[in-house]
Amino acid sequence: MSAPEVTYKPGDFKTDLKPVWCPGCGDFGVLNALYRAMASLSLEPWNTVILSGIGCSSRLPGYVATYGFNSVHGRALALATGVKVARPDLTVIAVGGDGDGMAIGGNHLMHSCRRNLDVTYILMDNEIYGLTKGQTAPTTPTGDKTKSSYWGNPEPAVDPVELAISTGATFVARGFSGDLKNLTAMIQRGIEHRGFSFINVMSPCVTWRGDSQYQLLKAKLQELPEDYDPTNRASAVKYTRETDVLTTGVLYEAGGPTIGDRVEHIRMMAQEGGKVPTTREILERFMPSM
């Protein structure tokens, strides 16, 4: 493909809609990073689709001047699969929150990872249910008090990054909404990556987690060592389930065929014909006398 003729500025992807997010919401940072990444990739709006589920962060498709699909709760990846299979030429991005992606839609992450669906999935993780006003999410740390856990959250939390690495995602990164520069680069790399790109962005909720969440996350931030090798899956896993620090960067990157490649291969074999034995051929094999 020749180089794109049109160039874009981040502001070109803005729509007339003003985000409904609370002032100070981390999702503003993610949106800005996405605008910048899309501009540096010169993504054509008419060849780009952003899908989401339900939640505060799932309002994002409305704020980006591409095709958008605010779908049902937890199913952004299930719907993204359909778009990508029907139109492999489109750039498909799925977005949503930790409640949407880890609770009601948790199983879809596993299957998108193992299939290596060529989609970029940006998870805005605030460790709480924001839209329904502050109940525990699967990512809420154990012991935290929320609207639904007065005595403290009794459940252990999931680490979305660990889940993505272990179920076969071929690009796994962790970012912070307050670190625009690195986040933009990370999203850009994720979109460029061929295969399933999972970007877990810590995106604080000022309303239901207070100012402290931002401060705590910021204090824990650390970057990957300069000589870090993202192709080593075992070393990537070392950066999951962190408590005292929060390592950001591209933790894992690998190659391999996508589900689109595999499905297309099957389609071509079927179209060529002759490779699937007929009933008569099968019978001949087992009962040659027939």
């Binding site: 339900i54 009601i104 948790g106 249910y129 329904t132 006003k133 109940q135 525990t136 007065y150």
Partner: protein
């Protein structure tokens, strides 16, 4: 004790008074404050129950099903998309004959996204074997949830207690909250006959062959027939204890009524003063409010509506391609009347997606039907239509 509570708060207090033992839930607007209040009650020790906040509505009802199978009194609450996600297990709860009570706050289905009221979510679950009861006020919500546990546990069918989003769920009203001793005397602890029991081990969820499946379904249908009488009996018993008697169908100013408005839920309270007003103006109008919708009170409706001149059914729902759902059901019930006693039935579909149904709307509908200005089988109320150039032009200006 008198309290001022929202419809959602009324549900939570009734669940507390009913001593639910397992509450398994997932937040969704406009239901969320029900489970939040219950979570608070459990956290404060006001309700000795196990509260679990699970990862989806499907899991919420699954949790209730297994808790109920183990013999616990189980409750959950949801709305719209949440109820739709439960659908597989909605069938299961009824088929397994579990007396679960679920509060559904009526909310319109997506797309387009709406958080406001209409009845298509609960009515889409009409044929699952659940009992359904539509409430008009916070007081009725409190009383109906408690009665729902009693009826469900008697006939072994789950009940969906239904209330309108915002018009009822988030509106504060004065409520007489029954005392715990009163509720305890009315609602004994659950003794589920087929609960999991080590002394009588059984496997649940087996394959049923064609020689037995129909018998299970016939029993469900018979249980619904039985339940109609039980709702009536329980509503009277509650009246003896509290002074508030409940009927399956509520009638208002039906003496000499020649035109009857049939509706359900909060539209009923909007309708009453309109009926009074029209009566003063000389229009012989009456009101029938459907409370228990499943089992369907067909014979009661026949006796109430037979011989009247006209019936107007107001639906906040639509069975796309064939009328409003209450309209369908009322019409089919009246078909069994002798022809001379059959009223003319008109349907109006109004208030979908939370659009307000005002007293003025109701007055216009009723006078329209009375004066034969409205004669179509179904009228979509206050909808801008391509066939109505005057209204379309108005909208464009």
């Amino acid at each position: 004790m008198r309290m001022v509570v929202k419809g959602n708060g009324a549900v939570a207090h009734a669940v507390r008074l009913s001593r639910a033992q397992v509450v398994s839930a997932y937040p969704i607007t406009p239901q969320t404050s029900i489970i939040e209040e219950i979570a608070t009650m459990v956290a404060k020790g006001q309700l000795d129950a196990r509260f679990i906040k699970v990862e989806s509505e499907h899991s919420a009802l699954a949790g209730c099903i297994s808790a109920s199978s183990a013999g616990a009194r189980a409750f959950t609450a949801t709305s719209a998309q949440g109820l739709a996600l439960m659908h597989e297990l909605i069938h299961w709860a009824a088929g397994a004959r579990l007396p679960i009570v679920l509060a559904n706050v009526n909310r319109a289905m997506a797309p387009g996204w709406s958080i406001w009221t209409d009845q298509n979510d609960s009515l889409s679950q009409r044929d699952t074997g659940w009992m359904q009861i539509y409430c008009e006020s916070s007081q009725e919500v409190v009383d109906s949830v408690i009665q729902a546990f009693k009826v469900s546990e008697r006939v072994l069918l789950p009940t969906m207690v239904v209330l309108d989003a915002f018009f009822l769920s988030h509106t504060f009203e004065d409520v007489e909250m029954p005392e715990q001793e009163v509720v305890d005397s009315f609602l004994p602890p659950l003794e589920l006959p087929h609960k999991m029991d080590l002394a009588h081990p059984a496997a649940l969820g087996n394959l049923v062959f064609p020689d037995r499946y129909m018998e299970f379904r016939r029993k469900m249908d018979l249980a619904h027939d039985l339940a109609l009488g039980v709702w009536d009996e329980v509503g009277r018993e509650w009246g003896q204890l509290t002074g508030r008697t409940y009927r399956i169908v509520e009638e208002y100013r039906m003496d000499g009524a020649e035109l009857v408005l049939v509706t359900a839920a909060t539209a009923g309270s909007t309708a009453r003063p309109v009926v009074d007003q029209l009566r003063e103006a000389g229009v012989p109008v009456g009101l029938v409010r459907l409370r228990v919708f499943r089992p369907f009170p067909a014979s009661i409706l026949r006796s109430l509506l037979g011989g009247r001149a006209k019936v107007l059914v107001l639906d906040r729902n639509c069975s796309f391609g064939h009328h409003g759902i209450f309209h369908q059901e009322v019409k089919s019930a009246l078909y069994d009347l002798p022809q001379a006693e059959q009223p003319r039935v008109c349907g109006v579909i109004a208030g979908l997606g939370g659009r307000d149904i005002t007293p003025d709307d109701l007055e216009e509908m009723l006078t329209g039907v009375w004066k034969d200005r409205i004669t179509d089988p179904v009228t979509w109320w206050d909808v801008l239509s391509a066939q109505d150039p005057a209204k379309a032009a108005l909208a464009m200006s």
